[in-house]
């Protein structure tokens, strides 16, 4: 189970632009490295990230091997109503990790 860290404010005013941070443990193996015997280490990367809030994907990203290991993202969204923010990562094999955080909007 990959370690995930989320930074979401607990509360926000309606209409306020809030800063969100997401960090997930993943080697993001580029596919360009070689092992100790010269063998090419196969690519193994997260390819897609989505943040779902209030039934809508409010931010998403497509990753290529140039995204550093343990991918880190800071992005923004407008606080519209209280609810759950879902953060989803999918890798090239279709494996998925996700976590959620609650936001109270006043």
């Amino acid at each position: 189970m990959a370690s995930i860290r989320l930074s979401v404010p607990k509360t926000a005013m309606k209409g306020e632009i809030i800063e969100l941070k997401a960090l997930i443990q993943h080697p993001m193996e580029s596919g360009y490295r070689r092992g100790s015997r010269g063998e090419q280490i196969p690519r193994n990367i997260i390819t897609r990230f989505e943040c779902v809030y209030d039934d809508e994907v409010v931010f998403s990203a497509d990753f290529h091997p140039a995204i550093a290991a343990d991918p880190f993202l800071t992005f923004y969204t407008r606080a519209v109503r209280s609810g759950t923010l879902a953060f989803r990562w999918t890798d090239q094999h279709g494996e998925m990790w996700s976590d959620t955080a609650s936001l109270t909007v006043t």
Partner: protein, 158 residues
């Protein structure tokens, strides 16, 4: 007993010997994928945006002047846009003219984003100017770039 391969008569300074030794080892050990060229960046941009005109401006990229290590370089992009329903950024694509492949990442926004800005950490295969192209909801394209120097680690471990 440590290996002492240099003969006493040689006048090489210690520093020169280290540079020589480490340098040649680096060349032998580094796998050499073909690196991207600025043409590959153009091709990647055309694949995404067709042959629409790309104007410079509105896009600010931030990279450190010197990247401590090419494996993880802090990077941020901020696009000047009110992010309203009528006027917002749809997506931004990041390109490298020197990594093995030109595409670095693509970020999708929308009016709910509030701010078209992202920060992350990227890998850079050498000193270069990273480029970004933003697509607005009216289809217009804007670009920006930032230069960084990527240094080599001191002690290369095989």
């Amino acid at each position: 007993m440590p290996d002492h391969s240099a003969q006493p008569e040689k006048t090489f300074s210690r520093r020169a010997l280290i540079r020589l030794g480490a340098g040649s080892v680096l060349i032998a050990a580094t796998p050499l994928p073909a690196f991207a060229t600025p043409d590959d960046v153009k091709a990647a941009q055309q694949e995404l945006f067709g042959s629409r005109v790309i104007r410079e401006g509105r896009v600010t990229l931030k990279l450190p002047a010197i990247a401590e290590n090419g494996y993880s370089v802090p990077f941020s992009v901020d696009i000047d846009s009110p992010m309203t329903e009528e006027d917002h950024v749809r997506q931004i694509a990041i390109f490298s003219p020197r990594n093995p492949i030109a595409n670095v990442a693509r970020f999708q926004f929308g009016p709910r984003a509030g701010r078209a800005a992202v920060a992350t950490r990227i890998r850079l295969g050498g000193t270069q100017a990273v480029q970004a192209v933003a697509e607005m909801n009216d289809g217009s394209l804007w670009s920006g770039s930032a230069q960084t120097v990527v240094t080599l680690a001191a002690c290369v471990v095989l």
